[in-house]
Subunit: 301 residues, 2 copies
């Protein structure tokens, strides 16, 4: 097992855009700094970051920006998995060179029906080509969007062959049976469910925290839940986190997160998404705002 | 409608790789020249080109290579659709600058459940940002791999708003009802099914040809079929093309095409695929070879 372990809550950081759809650097840096100040780590360039709508150069420039602004890369787990081997290697080298604690790596996601051998070969080649002992690789299992499941046999071979590098996995399957099977099969592995709704149940079985969309708007509660799930305060924190999550996830997630930031920061620019996504309708935005207000949600200052 | 029309058979050119998985430039150029010499056009960087396993720089370098070797860009329809708007714009500008007859553009394919408005907005922004009257855009509908269908209302809006630019579509749905609905809805539009098995039926309804994987190995028969489907020779050509197609598509398509080129050119290097794909097993390779031999298949010289 790896010698450095990530734990706690991580935000797949939403990426703000300007009206011309170019990334909005000042809002990006300040949102990341705000998240760190509330006790959560950063998983920039994830699904909820619209990372797959960003080009390679944009992704590297945004990570450079965080570093240039002095944000702590030891609390960063950037997404680096592209469809192509050379681009995944490029982004991963860049993140490792910046001292990031780890990288979160999608499988190559265009071709479907990929064999276990082919997927293993892909990840093995990425690791070999990056060729850096500092690399800590977290696999990213999100079959509903990638169409390429990371199966238990692939995980087992990767851990066996690269025990100091392959450090964990984010499980966005939403399938408790899958998460449970991984927790059983790989004790000590850095397993993170993709929703805070699973923290109490999964942490009791050895999960290390969560990497969850809603950490972008509810970082304090989720960070506390990751620490206190087994304490007297745990049940109330889990209920509080679940209430917010269940509201937000009943809307399209990325525009909903951005709508919440726009409303609560009184900053309409936050609502911008990049094509092909669409922002919430005015009606959806109002419903979301009303439902969150009714459950007592506030954005931390 | 556009003033320049592409017709006939196009090969989504398979991309040869060296043992280290870098593109094999000499084999790529010679395969492309061979295809052109057999009367078919080139659709490099398509699904069967493993284009989504290539990086942006690799794709541009390979197109530059074809141009540097004097291959006719007026017979080229390179794939330029990436997940991200800026990268799609970069590849499209590059192809247009080289004088390519058109580009074949996947929708952004990571995020699912994309609305018609979001998809329209994406394509409209690409066209506006490319900003070149020479652009001829062919949409690429392949929902089984992209997960993002290009619906009839989106096509209709794009044709209406960009009548000189949006020139056609490749339909890889494999769904005759969809192809038929497009042929009815958009007379004169550059509609290409993804299999030669549909040429007679679709051409009678106005399709312009086909863009098909197996053009890589059976260019002469398919090119003739595109010209002669309505002649006395049509039925025999359709049967001959169908026999080869039905064999090859019963194997994983990309490694099967490469295995045929490796066998018939006595050049084992052709069998190489890039991770995450896997080559055929020896047993599959032998079965494929035997079945093609039994139906009288030969690779043109």
């Amino acid at each position: 097992m790896v010698d450095h372990e990530l734990t706690g809550a991580f935000a797949p950081v939403v990426t703000p855009f300007q009206a011309d759809l170019t990334p909005d650097a000042p809002r990006f840096v300040s949102h990341c700094a705000w998240l760190l100040s509330h006790g959560v780590g950063l998983a920039p360039f994830g699904t909820n970051s619209e990372a797959n709508s960003l080009g390679l150069a944009e992704r590297m420039a945004l990570l450079d920006l965080l570093v240039d602004n002095g944000l702590d890369t030891r609390r960063m787990l950037p997404g680096t998995g592209c469809c192509s081997l050379p681009e995944t290697v490029t982004l991963t080298r860049h993140a490792v060179a910046h001292g990031c604690a780890g990288v979160l790596m999608l499988p190559p996601f265009f071709y479907k029906g990929i064999s276990d051998d082919g997927l293993y070969d892909y990840y093995a080649r990425v690791i070999e080509q990056v060729g850096d002992a500092r690399l800590r690789l977290y696999l990213y299992h999100i079959p509903a969007l990638s169409g390429v499941p990371i199966t238990l046999p692939v995980i087992e071979r990767l851990i066996r062959d690269f025990p100091r590098t392959v450090a964990g996995i984010k499980d966005s399957s939403g399938d408790w049976q899958n998460l449970s099977a991984m927790l059983d099969a790989f004790p000590g592995f850095g397993i993170f469910p993709a929703s805070e709704s699973l923290i109490t149940r999964a942490s009791a079985r050895g999960a290390k925290g969560c990497i969850s969309a809603t950490v972008n708007i509810n970082p304090e509660v989720i960070a506390r839940l990751c620490r206190e799930w087994a304490d007297d305060t745990g049940a109330a924190l889990q209920a509080q986190a679940d209430a917010v999550r269940s509201i937000v996830q009943s809307f399209p997630m990325i525009p909903a997160l951005k709508a919440v930031l726009a409303s609560h920061r009184d900053d309409a620019a936050w609502a911008q998404v990049r094509a092909p996504l669409s922002r919430l309708s005015d009606e959806q935005h109002e419903q979301l705002h009303a439902q969150l207000a009714a459950c007592g949600f506030t954005l931390p200052g």
